[in-house]
Symmetry: C2
Subunit: 395 residues, 2 copies
Amino acid sequence: MIAKKMVKYVEGSSVTRAMFEEGKKMAARYGAENVYDFSLGNPSVEPPEAVKKAIIDILEQESPCYVHGYMNNSGYETVRSVIAESLNKRFGTAFAEENILMTVGAAGGLNVVLKTLLDPGDEVIAFAPYFGEYNNYVANFEGKMVAVSPNPPLFQPNMAEFESKITPKTKAVIINNPNNPTGVVYSEETIRALADVLEKKQKEYGKAIYLIADEPYRELAYDGVKVPYLTKYYDNTIVGYSYSKSLSLPGERIGYLVIPKEADDFENIICAANVANRILGFVNAPSLMQLAVAKCLDEQTDVAAYDRNRRMLFDALTEYGYEVVRPEGAFYLWVKTMEENDKEFVARAKEYNLLVVPGSSFMCPGYVRIAYCVDPEMIKRSLPAFKKLAQSYQK
Amino acid sequence: MIAKKMVKYVEGSSVTRAMFEEGKKMAARYGAENVYDFSLGNPSVEPPEAVKKAIIDILEQESPCYVHGYMNNSGYETVRSVIAESLNKRFGTAFAEENILMTVGAAGGLNVVLKTLLDPGDEVIAFAPYFGEYNNYVANFEGKMVAVSPNPPLFQPNMAEFESKITPKTKAVIINNPNNPTGVVYSEETIRALADVLEKKQKEYGKAIYLIADEPYRELAYDGVKVPYLTKYYDNTIVGYSYSKSLSLPGERIGYLVIPKEADDFENIICAANVANRILGFVNAPSLMQLAVAKCLDEQTDVAAYDRNRRMLFDALTEYGYEVVRPEGAFYLWVKTMEENDKEFVARAKEYNLLVVPGSSFMCPGYVRIAYCVDPEMIKRSLPAFKKLAQSYQK
């Protein structure tokens, strides 16, 4: 008696989340220390101490009706204003309060943008491999997801195929940089090429094509690599951000959208996004957390800890014979499976108590995602299992 | 270039919110103390001190990765479990952890339920006057809203018309008790009659009709009036709750759904609602606030303060000649306008610096809603203006 559209979800449920549940069951059976769960992007590094201090200071100093009360659906003006200033300082942009809309995490922000933009049948392009939830978010508004094929071994987007897949029905392109699941950072060269293709196609079809930059991993970049700020390369960019990773607050559902005034139809987009935030049932981003992140804009979680995990796992897996995409960002390793069928590879990994996510969940079979946002001790303990798994294919 | 469906929202925007903005402008012009803003349901009574203590205790005692991290999409097991126990103790129900799904406020919860249940074209019945956002929530999932006409002077639902409006396409009925905007509490007699009609129609059509009980005002009831707990009267009931009013936390977006195991298709509904919470972009209810409300289940805001406001305003307005529905719950007064057109009445009220919301926003012209969740001093200052407004019609 549930909605017909929901039946497939109930049957399938999310592979990632199912793994999470299975990991808990295995931990109960084998002992938590003997199960190596690399399946979920749940930050293991603590939030900076400043977050706790900020929350307590706010509770001690501000009126509780202000801290916990309604504000504009877009968020507190002061919060939006300091976020705009912080972005301007870091990226040389020129945003103001009106360009920032506080959202219930990046997932909330993406749904707000898609509700704002999509008519039924509108096409949204993403570059495989990509976060599987994009399919669901686009389907929420009767949009049609169009995938550009994976482009191994470097996994920078395939520009020729991208251009060929843009049609008069293309309304938006989602780009996730640094990338989940590959850990790849799209280079400035990639972004320039992408912007060129989009500009050309906008002219050809005489319509706006919006670039949605999904950036929850922006602060997680290694080896000094720069993550380009997309509004500087293409006017019709809308940025979705979340503090889930940069401040290790994924459960708090706090993020924002940036809608630059250079975007076509800016006034209507801002107004519609504001309404969408309300009528989708978010209403506003959680109030106390809005105020807290505004006090922590120069803080970030201990990225060096993720970097150490990255190096340890990358070096070991490479040594064992795995073909691993060298990750420059996020907290994922993207590994070619040692047999063609990634789901069978995942099943075999499970025999060694290794939980990883099949690439098919990201529209890219033949690979697995290994989330290294975990305790480094677990990585150390897991290495013999990864070695045995590799050896089982090398016999 | 925004979605066609969003154009009407951008043109219209919400009357309630527009009033909120206008109130701020008038305050700047005339001085805040000379503008009487009764337009918004933003609690004026502070959260109980226990909320602050709970948040600080959690931050001091628990691991930050637990407090701010991901959990199951339905919420922390411990939180859901203590909420179930608390409901059982108060209402003699038999809920367990599995029956509770933590949501981003009641608005988030309603969207989750409707995503879970509605196929395009399914009908959802509500009793006018009702919260205008229901129209938008139902439209989000291509449902069709069906209104039962207002039933003055007592505004208990009209059962004969209700029965006549149930069709084979009816999937759900939304009931809001205590009621926004009337302040009326639907009696046990009303609820029994409603359940009888639903049982009869379920049999007639051989299908489930779900009763969605939207209960953010449950704790705000006066004169010792009892608010029936609907799962006890009708098996196919799903309850949506929010701590916005009971703990004065509207900005925090924290609430829950109750999905009883007696509901038809229970297993699928629970699973689909869990997925809906995720794919709509809520992901989970804000984590720290989940833990905080779980420590405050026996707390509530100072309801007596709202009660004093209620009496002061009801007595004065009645004395001035207004026809006012005696409110037993929520924090709204529902007043018959002194001219037929409620929007013109609202405009005239504004000339006396009185901001109220027209009944047409609640599908019931000829009335206005006066939100008395405000500073009692403002009510006192506003009384001469209400008197003059009445006199302007009595000349």
